[in-house]
Each structure stands twice: as structure tokens, then as C-alpha cells.
Symmetry: C2
Subunit: 250 residues, 2 copies
DNA sequence: CGAGCGTTTGATCGGTGTCAAGGATCGTGG
DNA sequence: CCACGATCCTTGACACCGATCAAACGCTCG
């Protein structure tokens, strides 16, 4: 079975937390977010949240579980372009873009809250600060995406792999879902390979070598980072691009 | 010397055009954009518009010329993560993100308009539709960035190169700066290599082969695409991710 | 306990990188 | 208008990282 309890009532509190982390929101603004209409659904691993070519009418917030975005290229190969954890607003894109340019799929059983696009647009109109917070969220995602491009384009397999483990560690810790040195991450080596632009075989070799050298280890559904500083070094990692700081004075 | 005439007065009309292409704006909204305070400057090729680590106080609109964003990884290699043409709002990011996570440099002599961040924030507050339009622009950039990640991660050198030529062709045509089959693009093979995650030598080989087969040719400061359909095929290209359509009904 | 999926390992292949040298082109200054 | 220097392009030979192919192993979950 999966973690989410059957009949539990979910709220948009994680979305509020996500947004306030970047832009200060008044009590009224926060209340407006919480008052958004939504429906919840619980899905299994591998479920599609969005398909390329879709014209979604709702945006989705990931409340529990993991998900990833990916694109399929001409010869059938898959590139995973981002990974999402609980609290991420996964499908804000399509509030303003008519047709989806990529697929989103769950990496684990998940709980998803769906919000109609018109409600999001109305919210942004009536509460500009919230609109700004959602825009900022999009900007941070853009920054992460740039780093992924650089990671795949210019780092060797070993560094690439380490870099991803570091990023996820920091994001999980920040979201209160684990420690950077140890967090849940139910991904297969096949999926890792597609996220890193490598083959599963080579990912396996990198993971084995990182483990053998006491840097990090991929367990069944989790990651354990034994030597954070060393992994940061190997992965050429700096978390600046995650823009955790928030706005300096706002 | 460079194209821009010395004392000419520039306006934010290109920014209005860019924004209205995605979201319908009222006359008042458009006027508000045009009324933004700005200063213009003319710079030579290779000038930095933003440096990683900067805390910019202005956003920049590229009025004439070309620019690119890039990141430098640990061993000194450079990854170009995006390319920008006249009309692009290059530095909207830093309106909401305190510190820049990447560098922006001109690819040619350029004319740049600088707008103070506070003016952009005020504009978004007072004209939510404009805020939405800027947000949408960010979303489209995100989409392009995802495609670049997939391009670099999962396509062979030949396809990668072709894909970039197609993208630029479509964007230039859309912006009214040329035809997809022939457009100005003053980039060196070194820079192309850094945009594609390849080496200059290998980019050269791909270009020569594309040229030998009558698909496309890189001239001095321009691109000529002799067989668009064939290049699209080789490059596994589809322009959907550029989201040209605009909002269906808005 | 068994089936299926995911992981691990070895051997070999190939695409792209590296190194090196020569050639073309452009912009500059005389 | 020409000469020159710098940058960019081009080509070949060779090396290497990561891909491919193939097979066995182990773990989970039902």
C-alpha cells in the first residue's frame, strides 16, 4: 500500500509555504491561496499527471510523493528534465500556456491537489503579490533548469551524478522532508540515467564507485550521503541556483 | 562600426510586442509598459550584461543585437544555456531573484534598455495583466530551457546542431528579423560548441557535413537553411515548445 | 516461495574529445 | 589600397569516455 491515508482531508497549506518562502504574503493573500477551489486525488507510481500535447484545465500541487517531467526525443529516448518533491507546484506552466510541452509522471504513489486554471488567474489578478510569488516560483524553476542544462552538457558522468544527489538533498532538507545526508528518493537507475543523460549501466558504475569511496550510497528507496563535503566537491555543486534565500528585503 | 545609429531614441515598443504576443493587453496596459522609466546603452560584442553573483537593480531588454546566457562549471568549461535575439526581455529573472545565477553576455554589438526593478514590480502590481504577460514570458523561457536540456542530454551531435539552427530560424522569423531559411546569427563555432555541449572541432564537422549534404550552411555572420524540411527531420525538431500560438481564448 | 523487476558486472564498440598544424578571413593600421 | 596580426575555421590522427550487448544475480512484493 501507499502512505496516504484514504479519507484524509488535504489543504493547500504546502502551496502557501512554498510561495511565502520566496515572497512575503499578507494574511489576506495567504487566506486567498487557501481558499482556492481544489480537488484531491491519490495515484500510484508511474501515473501521468500531464501528457505532452494536453490542454490541461487544472494546475496540480504535489502534496505527497515524487514526480518528474520528461520529454521523449525522436528515436524514443527519454530525457527527464526535472524532479519534483512534496510541496512543489508541478503544473503552474499550463495556467498560461495552452498546450503542454512535456510529460509529467509520478515517481511514487502520490497525493495531488488540482486547482482550476481560472481560479489561479483570478487569484493573480486580485492578489498581485500572490501572482508575483507564483512568478518567482517559475523563475526559480527556470534557474534549476539552466543548471540541469549545464550539468548534462558540461560535466562528466561522475560529477553529474553527484550533482543531482546534492541538489535533491538540499531541496528535501529545505522542504522539511529529510536531511541532506539521508533522504527518501524512490528512483530507479533507469530513471536516474534519463535524468542525467547517461545509460543505466553507466549510472550504476558511477553509483558503485561513489559508494566504494564512501561518498554516497543509493539504497532501496533512499539516498545516504556519507561525506557531504566530498560529494559537493566531486559534483561541482553550489546551491546558489536554488535561490533559497528569498527576497532580501521584502 | 555597429548598426545602431548614435543618437537615436529607443522605446519599449519591442517589449510591448513581445508581451502582447502571449497575453492580450488593453491600451492602458500597453501604455503603462511604454511609460516605464528606462535608460538605453549601446555596447560592443562580448560585453557582460549580468555576471553570476551580481545583484542587479535593473532588468534589461535587448533592442538590437544578440546575447546569450551561460554558466561556468568547475573545470572552467562553459555551457551556454540560452540565446537571445532583439526584442527578448533578457533579464526579467532578477526582478524577483536577488542574486544572478548565471552570466549574460552579448554575442554582437547591441542596444540595451534598462528598467529599474522597482518599476517592474510596481507595474505588475498595478497592471496584473502585464504581470501575467511577464510571467508567461518566463514560462516560455522555461519551456525552451527544458528543450535545451533534452537536446543536450539525448540527441546526437548532428541532431543537436540542426535543432539549434531550426529553433533560431523560427524565433528570428517570428520576431520579424529574418526568414527561417536565412537569418543573421553572428556566432562562432566555439560558442556554438558551448551551446550544444560539444567541442568546437566536432561542431565544425557537423556543420561541414550539413553543408555538404545541402541541408544548411553557416556563413560569416548568418545561417542559410537550404532544405528546411530535411533539417527539421535531422534535428528532430518541432516548434511546439516555443508556444507561439498565444493564449487560445484570452 | 516464486516471478518480475531492478541491479551488477564484463567485454567490446563507437561517437565525440583531444592534440596538432595549417589555412582562411576580417579588421586594423600604415 | 595593401600588409599584417589576430581570430576563427578546417582537417587528420589518435585516445577515451560512455554506450552497447549480454548474462547472471538479488531483492521485493505478492
Amino acid at each position: 500500500m501507499q502512505s496516504p491515508s484514504p479519507q484524509r482531508q488535504y489543504t493547500l497549506a504546502p502551496m502557501v509555504q512554498k510561495l511565502t518562502a520566496g515572497v512575503a504574503l499578507s494574511a489576506a493573500d495567504q487566506a486567498a491561496v487557501l481558499a482556492l477551489p481544489f480537488t484531491s486525488r491519490t495515484v500510484g507510481r508511474g501515473s501521468y499527471m500531464v501528457r505532452e500535447g494536453d490542454r490541461p484545465k487544472v494546475s496540480q500541487v504535489l502534496i505527497e510523493g515524487f514526480a518528474f517531467r520528461h520529454k521523449i526525443v525522436g528515436d524514443g529516448q527519454r530525457q527527464i528534465v526535472s524532479v519534483h518533491i512534496a510541496g512543489d507546484i508541478v503544473d503552474l506552466q499550463n495556467a498560461l500556456l495552452a498546450v503542454s510541452d512535456h510529460n509529467v509522471q509520478t515517481l511514487s504513489p502520490a497525493v495531488i491537489l488540482e486547482i482550476p486554471h481560472h481560479a489561479i488567474e483570478a487569484l493573480a489578478d486580485e492578489h498581485p503579490r500572490v501572482g508575483r510569488a507564483m512568478w518567482r516560483d517559475t523563475l526559480v524553476e527556470g534557474s534549476i533548469q539552466r543548471e540541469w542544462t549545464a550539468n548534462v552538457g558540461r560535466r562528466c558522468a561522475r560529477a553529474r551524478t553527484s550533482h543531482l544527489l546534492c541538489e535533491l538533498g538540499l531541496r528535501m532538507e529545505r522542504a522539511g522532508l529529510g536531511r541532506r545526508s539521508s533522504y527518501r528518493f524512490p528512483i530507479t537507475q533507469d530513471e536516474l540515467a534519463d535524468a542525467l543523460g547517461l545509460t543505466p549501466v553507466h549510472v550504476n558504475r558511477m553509483l558503485r564507485s561513489l559508494c566504494a569511496e564512501g561518498l554516497a550510497e543509493k539504497r532501496h528507496q533512499s539516498i545516504a550521503i556519507a561525506d557531504w563535503n566530498a560529494l559537493v566537491l566531486v559534483g561541482d555543486f553550489s546551491g546558489d541556483y536554488l535561490h533559497f534565500a528569498g527576497e532580501a528585503a521584502n
